[in-house]
């Protein structure tokens, strides 16, 4: 099971990207994506932003905010903001779809996670973990919103979060 995780800023610019493999069931933590899949990952992540924005503004006031759980056709929702799952087909090499989970922060920053198996609860916890790390990064006076996150400490902690939850 492999994951592709990206943090997207308010201007649709990527702030942080990472690939992981699962640690559960004897996985060794290394992502295994086919080569074409890698390019597609970014494409899928971006295209999901459209759907996300629709959902973001479609709800009645406050529905995207804290402690709301929504379910959409074929998707899983949970936690603060919306978690949207989209089944996308990958043409060419056959094999199954890719699920997209998204976490939206109050500052309009999106955490997007691509994964090939659904796992709502661990993903939700992972998102909250990363959210805490992100707020700590925001507290750094030398970091401004929409800046790339380059800190090695942040990277290390995100990977630790993957290990813990996924």
């Amino acid at each position: 099971m492999s994951f592709y995780f990206v943090i997207i800023g308010t201007k649709d610019n990527p702030l942080y990207e990472a690939e992981f493999g699962t640690w559960k069931q004897g996985g060794d933590g290394v992502a295994r994506f086919r080569d074409e899949q890698r390019h597609l990952n970014q494409f899928i992540a971006h295209s999901s932003l459209d759907l996300l924005e629709e959902l973001q503004w479609a709800g009645t006031g406050g529905s995207m905010y804290l402690k709301c759980i929504e379910r959409f056709a074929g998707t899983a929702g949970g936690g603060s903001g919306g978690v949207v799952g989209v089944a996308g087909g990958v043409n060419g090499a056959g094999a199954g779809g890719v699920w997209v989970s998204v976490f939206l922060t109050a500052g309009n920053i999106k955490f997007v996670l691509l994964h090939d198996t659904r796992a709502d609860e661990p993903i939700r916890q992972f998102f909250y973990d990363v959210y805490e790390l992100y707020t700590k990064t925001l507290m750094n006076p030398f970091y401004s919103v929409d800046m790339e996150v380059r800190s090695a400490v942040f990277d290390g902690r995100v990977r630790a979060g993957v290990k813990k939850y996924l």
């Binding site: 507290m139 750094n140 006076p141 030398f142 380059r150 400490v153």
Partner: protein, 191 residues
Amino acid sequence: MSATKAARMGEEVWKTRIDKVNAELVTLTYGSIVAQLCKDYEGDYLEVNKQLDKMGYNIGLRLIEDYLAKTAPQRCVNFRETAEMIARVGFKIFLNITPTVANWTSDNKQFSLVFEENPLGDFVELPDDGRAQNELWYSNLLCGVLRGALEMVQMQVDAHFVSDTLRGNETTEMRVSLVRYIDDELPQSED
């Protein structure tokens, strides 16, 4: 005044006579000051250090009166006592931290303040441009504060940081040395 008495007094003044403010507010405000200075001086971190020291100096000139009003101390007989009062009472009532006094020289004119925690630097990571790590002393305001405050009580000191956890060192340490005792000013006479 012995160290334990000073510690007790610091604790007591902290509990009763001080108005408290949110620590994160102080951290974030100080952080924006430093970040803005860095932007304004376009990466001349030595100049930023100097400005922080100047700001601290002006704060120290006034802060000493506040300190004296709140603690009503007796005069310190020697520099060692001064150091203890600074660490156990001064820093306690204004920042709620107690740095340790260490590394006295044999003539008792220099000492180090070792900070285990530095509330000014919470959540801070120095920018990655290669020079900040070597040139910027993030908490340099504190050096200026000590310099200004001690000058108002007739001591000329020099204070500077020698290590900082934000730079990757193990401890945050400030070195304070007494340059001289300042004599009272005489009024000018025009005859």
